[in-house]
């Protein structure tokens, strides 16, 4: 390793808060709803469904507030197209939200009966015992795209208005109160001028705005920063790159791996899950506090596929989809001190409800949406959507299994900040003591503050059969973003060659390239994974329907 290091934080532009938190009168042409969920993922949709059910049941009993309108805004062209997860899903909130349905009615693929964890070296895979936190008996392999589409149908059936293709670009505020959002205009040309099918941004006024934007939610970040809401540790993230393969050789179990091809100072691992006898999901997840400037997660996933553990399944198969997404990994100590305020609540991944040791977030996201629905329902009954009134939401979460589970594993991910082996030892002790070891919070820096050391990248030639270049991968994400829209990425004024190289490896979608020491940006390639927002140029939403179009990720 070279002595020279780069710290990404230094050159990261600040959050453009002036654009994200807007005061002033809402436009006359605004749309009014009672409750708006920003983000049509598991959190927003489960919240919408739960709220609509509470209202319906209340109305049958003759309770206030009677009729209310519930909207869900989604930036993807249609529901699920920006949703990506592993995923092995805990069905708990499904049972609670749909007590009238059978387990077989839920949008899952296969129950987990067999699972195995391996420690990989370059040429070998050693099976190791499955830690209790990672056991998945009773859980299901599923595609989050399918879950989200299914939830969307349920939401519309019960009268929730789902608006896909409309990203929220800014919070509308009055005093300290969130009064709605403003969508993003579409039909702009590269210079930002309206084109022939220009559609201006629209204000949506809501009595309660629920921010369920997913990982690294932009408006959630803006709200927390604007209201000076801190957390014990900064939120940290991992980036997952995932592929969906049609395989000739059926996969009969859930696989997780640790070790190769990651360097010892990086935290992460891979997974392979069977969805159908001949359809498998495969991915690699790496904490974004990795130290190697030239570490490239997409490329590592390509190399992983050539490992003898995976290659036999993939050979003669076909890559059908590719995608990437960040995961909030900070856990309990990265929870914002409050996840509610005047007219606003923050749900799911945007609030950091992900348990890293069990690799799960979907059921926490849904559950948080359902708790928010309960709190909002009561607030509407009282006709009081103030911070005090919505504090009920935080109470419900804090008393629930969301907080309990994440408290138990609060120091596990931080333990790995000094590398894999010491981390694994500490994690084992934590498991044995039920989270009581080491007692104190392990302090963390944000990912962008971790220094990066150049190691030099090894050239990698994809073969187009098992391994693919980033440009080809982006094609497989279904990304058909118009090439002529304005850039949505806020890049620092001067980007030294060092950092351009770092960005080019960090971004899995070839948005950044280093050409002759200069940074070249290809915004349309972006699949909204948000890694750039964590470590580099800031991400802002583009016109609706841009980005990936995942089908079964």
């Amino acid at each position: 390793m070279s002595e020279l290091s780069t710290v990404p934080a230094g050159l990261q532009p600040p959050l453009p808060r002036d654009q994200l938190v807007l005061r002033g009168e809402l436009e006359d042409e605004r749309i009014d709803v009672d409750v708006l969920f920003v983000g049509g993922g598991p959190a927003g949709l489960a919240g919408g469904i739960q709220l609509a059910r509470l209202v319906k049941q209340g109305k049958e009993r003759g309770e206030e507030p009677g009729e209310i309108t519930i909207g869900v805004l989604e930036k993807a062209g249609s529901l699920g197209e920006h949703s990506l997860s592993g995923a092995v899903v805990n069905p708990r909130p499904f049972r609670q939200l749909f007590p009238e349905l059978q387990e077989t009615d839920f949008p899952f693929r296969t129950p987990v009966h067999r699972e195995a964890i391996y420690l990989l070296s370059q040429s070998r895979a050693r099976r190791i015992p499955t830690p209790p936190t990672m056991r998945n008996e009773g859980n299901y392999v599923a595609s989050i795209c399918e879950i989200v589409r299914w939830l969307g149908e349920k939401a519309e059936e019960i009268g929730v208005d789902v608006f896909a293709g409309f990203p929220a670009g800014a919070l509308r505020v009055e005093g300290s109160r969130v009064v709605g959002v403003r969508t993003v205009a579409s039909g702009l040309d590269r210079e930002g001028n309206p084109g022939s099918n220009y559609m201006p941004a629209t204000d949506i006024a809501a009595r309660v705005t629920a921010l369920a934007e997913g990982s690294r939610g932009l408006l959630a970040q803006a709200y927390l920063e604007w209201q000076d809401i801190e957390s014990a540790n900064p939120q940290i993230y991992a980036l997952g790159v995932k592929e969906l393969w049609e395989t000739k050789q059926p996969l009969d179990r859930v696989i997780h791996t640790m070790g190769w091809p990651l360097p010892r100072d990086a935290f992460g691992g891979s997974f392979m899950y069977p969805l159908e006898p001949n359809l498998a999901a495969l991915g690699l997840v790496v904490g974004l506090d990795y130290r190697d400037r030239d570490l490239d997660i997409h490329q590592l996933l390509q190399q992983l596929k050539l490992h003898p553990l995976f290659k036999p399944y993939l050979e003669d198969g076909e890559l059908v989809e590719w995608g990437a997404k960040t995961i909030p990994e900070g856990g309990f100590h990265a929870f914002p001190q409050r996840r509610h305020g005047d007219g606003v609540v923050i749900l799911g991944d945007s609030a950091g409800f992900v348990d890293v040791p069990s690799l799960k977030g979907i059921h926490y996201a849904m559950q948080s949406g359902m708790y928010a629905a309960r709190a909002i329902y009561k607030a509407l009954q009282r006709d009081d959507t103030s911070q005090e009134s919505l504090a009920e939401y935080d109470r419900l979460v804090d008393e629930s299994y969301i907080a309990r589970d994440l408290y138990r594993t609060r120091n596990m991910r931080p333990a790995f900040k000094r590398g894999f082996y010491s981390g694994a030892l500490k994690a084992a002790l934590m498991t044995l003591t039920g989270g009581r070891f080491p007692g104190r919070r392990i302090a963390m820096d944000s990912d962008a503050e971790a220094p990066r050391y150049a190691t030099g990248s090894s050239p990698f030639m994809p073969d187009g059969k098992l391994t693919f270049s980033k440009v080809d991968a982006v094609f497989k994400s279904g990304n058909v973003t118009r090439d002529t829209i304005p850039s949505h990425l806020l890049v620092g004024d001067t980007v030294p060659a060092e950092l351009a190289t770092f960005y080019s490896h960090m971004c899995p979608a070839a948005v950044y390239e280093e050409v002759d020491g200069e940074l070249k940006v290809n915004p349309p390639n972006c699949v909204d994974c948000k890694a750039t927002d964590v470590l580099g140029p800031r991400w802002t939403p583009r016109e609706g329907g841009s980005g990936a179009a995942y089908k079964r990720m």
Binding site: M461, G464, V471, D472, V474, F475, K476, V480, D483, N522
Partner: protein, 323 residues
Amino acid sequence: MAGVLVVLEQRSGTLKSVSHEVLGAARTLADELGVEVHALAIGPAGLKVDGLGEYGADKVLCCRSDELELYQASRYAGLASGLADANGYQIVMLATTALGKDLGPRIAAKLGAPIAGDLTHISGNDGLVVMRPVFAGKATSTLKITSTPCVLSVRPNAFATGCVARDGIVEDVSPGDSGAGAQAVTIAVKEPEKAVLDVAEASIVVSGGRGLKEAEHFQLVEELASALGGAVGASRAVVDAGWRPHSEQVGQTGKTVSPNLYIAIGISGAIQHLAGMRTSKVIVAINRDQDAPIFKVADYGIVGDLFAVVPRLTEEIKKVRGG
């Protein structure tokens, strides 16, 4: 026995070569079915219909009137369906051209007949079975036609011309009532002003990529395209770099092209580019890197320095075209 009626196409009194292809397809089918091929030519008074026997027509029905010089949809449809009705043709065939796409369905509707268009394969050996591309060429549908009469429209460039010559006796057909009072009349055909040939429409496309190194070198691509009478295309990389306008971009987020000849110069061949041009009939790749993915879809490739290869190619093309 009157079996197949082929509706021919003309422009300014001269039959189009695509009509010879339809005759070729009709002849093969008619031989399988053991029936005759009759051709229907509709056009101006000076319409030339000699020698159609050589393309397989047993008889040529010729309907000449200056009112019929331009394509008059309802009159053309009335004439063709009237003859099909009167003479009991089992099959009416035409080409899937702008005219055929409009006329075929009208004839089918008048005859109460099924229609299958854009056919790439026809067989009469075991019932009437046809093949046609569907889903933008991503799949091929094989259909069995179960009722007659029927209308078949064949894809240009998919069937060969030429066969054993037939008599091709010409018989005049009355143009019928004049077009006065028709609900729709074609009043003019505008020839395009000398405009830039659109990459999506051109039958030959020459595209350049990052291998050209700088915008000025695109002149090499332009010169080759002009020698071939083709259009200029560009990869996304060079469009993003601002070397070329977006209207020239070939690929998934640009235009999808399927010319007869596609020449890729200095284009490595990312999947998203291939998605926009892989249905081209013949693909030529010129690239320095012999491992470039473009060679996997190319029919012909030259590995080498494009700055040496392309000028030579342009020169040779000029010789071929000039001579």
